[in-house]
Structure formats: C-alpha cells, structure tokens
C-alpha cells in the first residue's frame, strides 16, 4: 500500500488536511501545464501578448493552481472517493510565486447509503493571499 486508507469513522469535522507547499512556480511550469492540458491561452506564456494587454508578465493558469490544490483533496479523501471538486479563482499566481495548499473538513453526513465528507480548501501565495478558494465532497468507506 502506498497510502493510508481513510474511513468515514476516522474523520472529524474540523480536521485539517495535511498542508504542503509547491515552491517557485516558473514560466516553464506554465508551459508544461499548457502542453499537458491543451490550454494555450497566450496570457500564460506569451510575454508580448500580455504586455500589449497591459499585464506585466505571464501568469499561471488557474487550472494549474487548481491541479496543484487537487492533490490535497485526492490524497486525503482518496481519488476514487471524490464526488465533487470546485474552485473559485481569486489572486493570480506569478512567476516565482509559491503555492501553499491547506484545508479542513467542514461537514460529515450520511445520505443514500453514502458516508460523505465535505471540506473547504485554499491555495495561498507566499504573502498569504488566496489564489484559490475551493471545496470538495467525497464518499468514504465505512467500517459499518
């Protein structure tokens, strides 16, 4: 086993998801995500284009940050248990920024035989500004 299986009974409302930080995102990281995702919006790699639009530098795709943040949720709840993942984009992430991912469980419930947990997650830059405000819902196994 590469991970600990988390059961519904192991989780309490208010529990924190183990946080982590990805340091120093680079333009190269944006380009890798562009290639991996197919998102070739020039705002994220074309310096000439962004300057013409009045923006100082290229910035990270929101979905790159959302992808980084999704690890927090998948590692905690189990990829196969995830039922919903939602993100709202706030502050942009620029080259050289770090992204810290953290979150907590806000609710436990049982509905239609599923043992559900819900939580809030955030991706923050190195100044503590919120880049992404997110939420998730997952159906965990139960010890019955």
């Amino acid at each position: 086993m590469t991970r600990t299986k988390r059961y519904f009974e192991d989780v309490k409302e208010g529990d924190e998801l183990p946080p982590f930080t990805v340091d120093n995102l680079t333009r190269g990281d944006f380009v890798k995500y562009a290639g991996a995702s197919g998102d070739f919006t020039p705002l994220h790699y074309d310096q000439t284009f962004v300057e013409a639009a009045g923006i100082p530098t290229v910035f990270a795709m929101g979905m790159l940050n959302a992808g980084i943040l999704s690890r927090l949720v998948a590692d905690y709840a189990g990829l196969e248990n995830l039922r919903k993942y939602k993100v709202r984009f706030a502050t942009r992430v620029w080259p050289g920024d770090s992204v810290t991912c953290k979150g907590k469980v806000t609710k436990k419930s049982v509905a239609n035989g599923e043992h559900l947990i819900e939580g809030e997650v955030q991706a923050l830059n190195q100044k503590g500004e919120v880049a992404i405000q997110g939420s998730f819902r997952a159906a965990l196994p139960s010890r019955g």
Binding site: R3, A36, L82, K86
Partner: protein, 152 residues
C-alpha cells in the same frame, strides 16, 4: 443587459480517449508524485486501474477540433477563468472512451470593481463513457471583464 441568446446552444460531441501517457504528463505538470497516476500495478491493486487526476477532464481541449465548445463571442484579452467545478459519478480509467457534450448553461452580467461590468458565461460539459454511463460533469465559468485584466 447581457445578450443571453446563446444560452442553450450545444457544441458537437467530442470523443476523448483516456490515455496513460497523457495522465502521467498531466500529473507531472501539476507536480503530483502519486504512483497511482504512474504505476499500473499499484493503481490496479488499490483503485482498480490508473485513474486521471481530479482536474484531468480539462484535457478535453486536446480532442476538441473547434466544434465542441458552443461559440459565445468573447474578447480573449479580457477573459478570466472565474470558477471550475467537477462532479464525479463513476470512476474513469485508462482505456475508457468518453464522449463530451458542452452546452451554454448561463450568461449573465455583474457590476465589478475596477473592471466595470463583467459578463459571466457558464458552460456545462457532460462526460459519458463507452458503456453509456454518465461519469462526470464539468461546470466552467468564464468572465469577460470591462477592460483588460489589470495587474494586481
């Protein structure tokens, strides 16, 4: 008032194959070292096979030749991705073939701060697998700001 005449427009179905190499590349690009995305034996033992990361359905862009997204006229210099939501109903595995159908779910306006009037467009994409099971829905919200997306 926003022009809402595009609400309900539906794009052409896009067929998307779920491939191991693409999942591996995507997981690397989001800096997720989880072996479940890389090691077939580990993934098979733990979750029945390699599954894509939660936001992988964004790679639909690679399979869409331009007809999958119903057209709503927007100025690419002024657009921001506002929100993204995924709902997952059934597991998706490497080897699956998904069909994605996108429709314009909503268009509305809000008065923002520095950006003036903002136009919101919400697109919903239904993903159905080769067995006809609806596996996921993606809700994509794009915002067109009143002026160029200023630095913050």
């Amino acid at each position: 008032m926003a022009d809402t005449s595009d609400i309900g427009r539906v794009g052409k179905p896009v067929v998307m194959k779920i491939e191991a190499g693409k999942i591996r590349e995507f997981a690397k690009s989001i800096k997720d070292p989880n072996p479940l995305y890389r090691d077939e034996a580990v993934a098979k033992a733990e979750i029945g096979g390699i599954m894509p990361p939660p936001t992988f359905l964004m790679t639909l862009a690679h399979w869409d030749d331009g007809d999958g997204q119903p057209r709503v006229p927007l100025d690419t210099r002024r657009i921001l991705h506002g929100e993204q939501e995924f709902e997952y109903f059934k597991p998706i595995y490497v080897g699956d073939t998904l069909t994605a159908v996108t429709k314009v779910a909503n268009i509305f306006e809000k008065t923002g701060g520095r950006g003036g009037t903002m136009k919101f467009v919400v697109m919903d994409t239904d993903f159905t697998n080769q067995k006809g099971e609806k596996v996921a829905v993606a809700h994509f919200t794009v915002i067109e700001t009143g002026q160029a997306v200023a630095s913050s």
